[in-house]
């Protein structure tokens, strides 16, 4: 009966201990949440929000620009096409074009009916004209034929470039001879000053992608708890023509932060500090594993306390009984 009584008392103590452990843990969690809130607040600074706004506004402009560029039509190319396809004995006196409708109305004079029919056939054969309608023709007093034509255009006509006769080709027309400096391009001798780490990943399962802060030149990597951070080989992607030290895919000890130095082609340097944090994998899964740990510790503590108290009271009782027995024997 004594053993049960002491066990129950120990259980009571353990229960109170468990409660206190939870209170303490909850307090610590509260602190952790406060810290995380502070960290979250510190991420979206005014400067970063301004950068975000700029990026989004430019992204929108770039998208609009891309759409317009795709739809852009070079209407002047029509003239080059007509100059190339008009026969020498045909003249146009009226020109009217609606780019959106893709239609041209032409009024003109042909030397003869034969010239007009050859002109119509020539236009019909062209890949840039989808339809030719001869609206009317009449022989004038001079024997020449007045006509009106309706042309339906293929949209690719707006990209038409008339071929130049070889004699008219000048060095300026040949892109190979264009001086790049005149076009605002850099001469090939100018060395690149690009020296950024573009990506920094750890080939774990699942892969850990480093968060690169280009302003502060820091790289943060969150690996799952229990990962051996003393032997990690990051895969590093850097700016073209730059080099990095220590090189990519070489094992490093990330117990403390590791500094990576990127050298640009022009010799300039930039340092990045890579930090690996071992964190729980997040969500309920990590919560339950931590809980299991706490409960296990609580149970162990409770069992130890129960055994210790039971043993203590048992020995105390035993010594008391012995003392009584000795006193009884003495009497």
């Amino acid at each position: 009966m004594d053993v049960i009584f002491y066990f129950v008392i120990s259980l009571l103590v353990s229960t109170v201990l468990c409660y206190l452990i939870f209170v303490l843990k909850i307090y610590l969690q509260g602190q952790q949440i406060k810290d995380l809130d502070g960290k979250i607040e510190s991420v979206g600074t005014d400067v970063q929000k301004k950068q975000e706004e700029t990026v989004f506004s430019l992204q929108k402009k770039i998208n609009d620009y891309a759409v317009m560029l795709t739809d852009h039509e070079l209407s002047s190319s029509i003239f080059g096409f007509l100059e190339k396809t008009t026969l020498p004995n045909v003249w146009f006196s009226q020109f009217s074009m609606g780019t959106k409708q893709g239609k041209i109305t032409l009024l003109g004079v042909a030397e003869s009916m034969d010239a007009l029919s050859r002109q119509t056939a020539s236009l019909e054969k062209s890949e840039f004209i989808t339809k030719v309608d001869l609206l009317g023709s009449s022989v004038g007093e001079s024997g020449k034929v007045n006509f009106s034509l309706n042309l339906t255009l293929d949209p690719k006509i707006f990209g038409y470039v008339p071929p130049l006769p070889e004699s008219e080709t000048t060095p300026e027309d040949n892109p190979a001879t264009v001086n790049p400096e005149e076009n605002g391009e850099l001469p090939s001798e100018v060395k690149s000053s690009e020296k950024q780490i573009l990506s920094f990943d750890l080939p774990l399962n699942p892969e850990v992608v480093g968060a690169i802060d280009q302003t502060n030149r820091t790289i943060a990597l969150n690996v799952p708890l229990g990962t051996d951070v003393t032997n990690l080989s990051p895969l590093i992607n850097i700016s073209p023509k730059a080099s990095v030290s220590p090189v990519s895919n070489i094992s490093q000890n990330f117990t403390n932060s590791v500094i990576y130095t990127v050298s640009a082609e022009d010799g300039s340097l930039q340092q990045y500090t890579a930090t690996v944090n071992a964190v729980a994998e997040g969500g309920a899964e990590s919560g339950s594993s931590k809980n299991m740990l706490i409960i296990t510790i609580g149970v162990i503590v409770a069992v130890v306390v129960v055994i210790a108290l039971g043993l203590f009271f048992f020995l105390k009782k035993r010594s008391k009984n012995k003392k009584i027995a000795v006193e009884n024997n003495g009497n």
């Binding site: 009966m1 409660y19 995380l36 990026v55 430019l58 100059e83 190339k84 045909v90 802060d213």
Partner: protein, 197 residues
Amino acid sequence: MEIDRPIATAVILFVILLLIFFLVVPKYHQFQSMQQKIGEKQAEYDAKFAYYSEVNKIYEQLEARKDVVEKINGAIPSSTAFGPLVYFFQKIGIENGLIVRGLYLSKVSSASIGSDVKEIIFSLDLLGSYAALKSFLASLENSARFFETSNISFGSSATSAQTQASLAAGGAAPKTSVAPQILQIYPFKLEIKTYSY
């Protein structure tokens, strides 16, 4: 005073149950929810950090291509200012040998439903040679700002065959008559479309 141990044991067990039910279990649930909250906050922080890192990366890439960004800004300006446009048409008209006889603002409307881009349409009455018109159109097409010629119409007002011939396409006409044809003056009507925010 001697305690009745069986009764004390029962009372203590009852107290333990009460403690577990009213104190330990609620705290355990609170602990669990806090743990979940920490996981969520950590994920939120990681996501926010990664997001702003990415934004920063893109921003730096855009900064590195400032010249291209300037070109895009020039192609679609952020304000609908008509003054510079009128000046521009006058300037390139003169540069290419055309006289701007009339310039009318036809329409300002949204380029498409839900778009911030405005479509500005101008009607232009020009006077000059065919070669000058081609040069004028080339200048518009090569301009940093987006211009699209939606309508072109012109014609000879004279009735004689010789005058009509002057409108013949330069490349196709007999070589001997090309020069005088190109110098002939015609009235042109153009509808030009440009964009802004």
